[in-house]
Amino acid sequence: MKSCLIVDDSKVIRKVARHILETMNFEVHEACDGQEALNSCLENKHDVILLDWNMPIMSGMDFLKKYRLSENNNDAKVIFCTTENGIGHIQAAISAGADEYVMKPFDRTTLESKLQIVGCS
């Protein structure tokens, strides 16, 4: 079973994403901010990380930079999932090591499509 970490400070988004991912047979973990996400990555090896941008304590961008620099276990596919829909944000995310980018609002088909693109469906 593939493991997915959902990082989002919105409970509703986590719930919606969890529902979609569970029907796709993912084992789902959740984190409310970048710091919690880093902690989760120390304990678990995730195949894919769904990452919000704006969160309290540690943003998605700060998480991604730290995560990609970690010594080991830093190669999950990272899909940004955010309302920041401008080209500047997208380019910054790719430069920081994001594999894909979902602009909110998104639906099941979009998420499935992106998971397939990163080879995690």
């Binding site: 080209i87 997208i90 894909e100 979009t110």
Partner: protein, 275 residues
């Protein structure tokens, strides 16, 4: 005054649809009619399907019939649809075509039911991603569809956020599209590789040229047997020797053509035999 029962109106509309496009709409799918005509009825302040059909039949508004039929057509598509098949296409299939045409260095591709153009744009992007391989080649992509509305949209090359998130890797979005407010505009270099035109694969007999690759995906399955045969005749005429046909994942050539043989290694692909 409403002279038709709704069931009768649905039947009239689906007959018109078949007459104009070859597409059959089985009674189980009649619900599509209601849903897809809602915006047009609102726009013209027409209260229900029966009244709409009366207006169409009275010939009072010629454009209305076309608008309605085009609205009923299923234009569902996405970039790089059927990722695995597209990978076969842009990998081994195009490699084989390149070998065949190495001397001529001329590649012609026809997306023959291209809807809003996602298929043609995906093709152009895939070729651009491999531009070293196609250096010095003359490449033409024709995108056609029976629906004028679809073709007019395709010509604009403007896609919603929703549409670009289906099938298109983010790296390619950034590389080949420009953001315009909430939408995304295909780069002019890509648009220049594609020509769009209206073409009815069932009833147009005009010769559109010969192609090395024809994509006809997720369209033939909605045709009646007779119309499917006609469409295949059009496709056969347009295939160069050794050319390929790519179909949708739920479609086959079956017995409709004796000139097309399934490619053993590539599911969904057919090759024009030399007979």
């Amino acid at each position: 005054m409403n002279i038709h029962s709704s069931a009768k109106s649905f039947e009239i509309l689906s007959n018109l649809l078949e007459e104009r496009t070859g597409q059959t709409l089985s009674p189980e799918r009649h619900w599509r009619i209601q849903t897809s005509l809602q915006p047009i009825m609102r726009e013209h302040s027409i209260p229900d399907i029966d009244t709409l059909v009366s207006v169409i039949l009275s010939n009072a508004n010629r454009g209305l019939e076309t608008d309605c039929l085009e609205a009923i057509l299923n234009n569902e598509s996405c970039f790089f649809r059927d990722q695995a098949s597209f990978a076969l296409l842009t990998g081994p299939v195009l490699d084989a075509i390149r070998q065949n045409k190495e001397k001529e260095k001329r590649l012609r591709i026809w997306c023959s039911a291209c809807s809003f153009g996602q298929e043609a744009v995906s093709m152009a992007i895939a070729l651009s991603e491999n531009f070293q391989k196609w250096n010095g080649w003359n490449i033409e992509i024709l995108g056609s569809d029976v629906s004028n509305q679809a073709i007019n949209r395709a010509k604009k090359g403007l896609y919603s956020q929703f549409e670009v998130q289906r099938g298109l890797p983010i790296g390619l979005l950034v590389k080949y599209f420009n953001q315009v407010d909430q939408d995304w505009q295909v780069d002019q270099k890509i648009m220049n590789m594609i020509q769009y035109r209206n073409y009815n694969l069932v009833s147009d007999n005009k010769f559109v040229g010969k192609f090395d690759l024809i994509l006809c995906r997720n369209m033939l399955m909605y045709l009646s047997e007779d119309n499917r045969l006609k469409a295949f005749q059009n496709i056969e005429k347009a295939l160069n020797p050794n050319a390929y046909l790519m179909m949708g994942s739920a479609e086959t050539v079956a017995s409709y053509s004796s000139k097309l043989e399934p490619c053993q290694d590539y599911r969904g692909f057919y090759k024009r035999n030399l007979t």
